[in-house]
Symmetry: C2
Subunit: 138 residues, 2 copies
């Protein structure tokens, strides 16, 4: 056991905040059975339209194989569809299904409630600025 005040770890502090924030959003989205990661993924697809897995991963700044696996629960629930590309037989195109679009519509009010709750207590512009600065610094 060392003594003296320990210098706080910036990374661990952020991880802790992310755990808390994620739990808060996940709880808000519970009624529609989506996690915030899954809802965000559906929103990407809504915004980008049908897209190969690798490009979707790049957009979300996720590792390619992570994206592949994150799609699994959404696939199982029929919220997204994976179809082979016409141009490139290697590529798999991810797209929203009608059920996926409905899930976004159903989940959005709950997500907005979570956003509103947090944004009312912490300036979202500050959070964004810190997040972007950290990404740039990493």
């Amino acid at each position: 056991m060392s003594d003296g005040p320990a210098e706080p770890c910036t990374c661990s502090a952020l991880r802790r905040a992310t755990r808390a924030l994620t739990a808060s959003y996940d709880a808000a989205l519970k009624p529609v059975g989506l996690r915030v990661t899954q809802f965000a993924l559906l929103r990407y697809l809504d915004r980008l339209g049908p897209i190969p897995v690798s490009r979707l991963a790049a957009e979300a700044a996720l590792e390619r194989t992570t994206m592949g696996r994150n799609l699994d629960p959404l696939k199982r629930r029929g919220l997204v569809a994976i179809t082979p590309s016409a141009e490139d037989p290697r590529a798999r195109i991810v797209s929203l299904t009608d059920a996926g679009r409905e899930a976004i519509v159903a989940a959005t009010p709950y997500w907005r409630a979570a956003q509103a709750r947090i944004n009312a207590r912490v300036d979202p512009a500050t959070v964004s600025a810190v997040a972007e600065a950290l990404i740039a610094a990493s």
Copy 2:
């Protein structure tokens, strides 16, 4: 595909920043074969001394069972020891081994380098303030 600018998700933005920051710290700690989560855990033990799993989890704001599993790789490497408590046979006391203390010493310079790199680019007080505000708001 909906149109219009999408309102950014505060939670997803933070998750993304955390992924980037964690990758940066993990890369810095690579020479000693520790991840930032593991290093932080060793530091908790160093600061708190021998402690039951549940109390350690509470200190780190982690779910109890998560803490149990996060200890596994450290146990396997002999950096921490788990021993039954004398007073309460239900409790398992987690403690740093000599190898664990050596690992902290070996890892600290690499961790400091990662901290310095980030802290030079993003004010750590701001990050701390945002993190604490988010935790309080969650």
